[in-house]
Symmetry: C2
Subunit: 319 residues, 2 copies
């Protein structure tokens, strides 16, 4: 993986201004019942209510609107069958440019339909990393489209970092902040923005035990790439990026791993108590707080709920 | 049924001030996908995110805080195994007074647990109207508690009316407004407040076809009481109250009836597009808009989503 520069707070502030006409200011919700369960004051930042149903729209939108007109005219491309693909399709539509999304065979049809509905061109490839990258390179060569990587991209990280600016404006008195970590675009962007505004803030990230490469990498002091992800958290299967890992280290982000069982139980709590449809990857954060409750006890915690794109016919607590 | 005075706009404004320390200002959410489906601009007022998971907290809270200290000390009583019972329990707790909730045998255990958790005393009775009223009267006689009826109560209607004040502040440019109608506490309160602020606003109410006593009553010009409710919308089975019906008539509220099938389809849309857990009764409003889309086409419509208390193990689109 090529090295990607971490965004500065200036770039994150620019991103906030750039995406403001297109992204939503998502609400921060509270629940007496969940506060009581956690023994803490939880401030849920509801990115499941973001355009496209996930925080990914922020990064994709910042990337799309960062392009010079000439570049933009040639379109954007990414490989993702999930929220980033959909976000890039929606973001490209706000600028009236073409998005190409490389999707592996076997991806969920409903997600592909959503990406196509947003106006993107789908390119199918074999379901492995080499085939994805080859297809992306082919589309780039043929169209001149700009690659917008899901997380190893400075513009994407800056866009995701705008969540922290917004949350700290809405809930200024936080003591701690937690996000999930997959590839680490969100965790890196949020850590950078949060510590620029509030250097004393304790930062946490929640990771599925079955895809715990970030936790292992921090422990080993180098990027561990041998982890084969096995988790229901489909949004958190990516290996953490090199510069994303640097950001976790630089900002002393404490990674808490949680089992799928703990995450599914937390997901159900979010549905029943907050009345929000959140996807399973989003629930790792509450699972981590409940699991390590002593570390959060009595604190005011910002909790980033990342997305709400769920197959309503296949809820994980019913099989 | 005894006659109940409709609230004035002054009483509704007083209610807003009275409940402000306890109730939440619920967000207004939008969805590009639902706007496109409806051909209208929909502004969803999310009372599923209200304390207790339903708008009922507003009315119950206003009633509880309207009492003189001496009255309050003797507690409050109601009969409801649903959202109003839970709301009254929570509201009583905010004032540190006792709530008595009369519940019919056979009510859903999860709902009873929630009411008990909020600190109320449960009183079980046979599952019919006469037994409920007798048990309420007995509790009143024994304790001196004040009856807080779910909808035929001026203070309750005034509390529910605060939704319209809040929504018209959040989305001032609305052309129309729609709520569900069951007993009519919400519809009456909202109609009164909405027309006091904006006499030109078109008002609608959505009613299950299997409990269409409000629609029939408006058509017949008198309160029709022979309807035996048969609908999945458990929050909308009550017959519309006498004064509630007067309010619908005075404010020319147009009642649109929808089938359970239409409502369940709309509920699923609200979950998948708005990312909100809403209960089935709440979805009647979107079902009505989609069914009678010509009447809403191109308009800016305030849509009150009433509650989010759902049994996650028994979703109506999975049986």
């Amino acid at each position: 993986m090529t090295t990607t520069t971490l965004p500065t707070i200036g770039q994150i502030r620019d991103a906030a201004a750039r995406i403001a006409p297109h992204a939503r200011i998502t609400p921060v919700l509270r629940s007496e019942a969940l506060d009581a369960l956690a023994g803490a004051e939880l401030h849920f930042k509801c990115e499941n209510l973001q355009r496209g149903g996930a925080f990914k729209f922020r990064g994709a939108c910042n990337a799309v609107w960062s392009l010079a007109d000439g570049e933009a005219a040639r379109g954007v491309v990414t490989h993702s069958s999930g929220n980033h693909g959909n976000a890039l399709a929606l973001a490209a539509a706000t600028r009236g440019i073409q998005a190409h999304v490389v999707v592996p065979e076997g991806a969920v049809q409903a997600k592909l339909d959503a990406i196509a509905r947003a106006g993107a061109t789908l390119h199918r490839c074999a379901p492995n990393q080499a085939a994805r990258e080859a297809m992306c390179a082919e589309v780039q060569a043929r169209t001149g489209a700009t690659l917008v990587h899901p997380y190893a991209d400075t513009r994407v990280m800056a866009g995701q970092g705008t969540i922290a600016l917004e949350l700290l404006h809405q809930a200024p008195a936080l003591d701690a902040l937690i996000t999930p970590v997959g590839g680490g675009g969100l965790a890196a962007g949020v850590a950078t923005a949060a510590h620029a505004l509030r250097p004393d803030l304790a930062l946490f990230a929640a990771e599925p035990a079955g895809a715990d490469d970030a936790a292992r990498s921090l422990e080993a002091g180098r990027r561990v790439t041998g982890v084969v992800p096995e988790t229901v958290c489909d949004g958190l299967r990516a290996l953490v990026g090199e510069s994303n890992l640097d950001a976790l280290r630089a900002h002393r982000v404490d990674v808490i791993t949680v089992s799928d069982e703990e995450t599914v139980a937390a997901m159900r709590l979010l549905w029943s108590e907050l009345k929000l449809v959140v996807e399973v990857s989003s629930a790792t954060v509450l699972a981590a707080i409940l699991k390590q409750s002593r570390r959060f006890a009595g604190r005011r915690v910002g909790v980033v709920l990342t997305g709400g794109n769920v197959d309503l016919d296949a809820l994980p607590w019913r099989d």
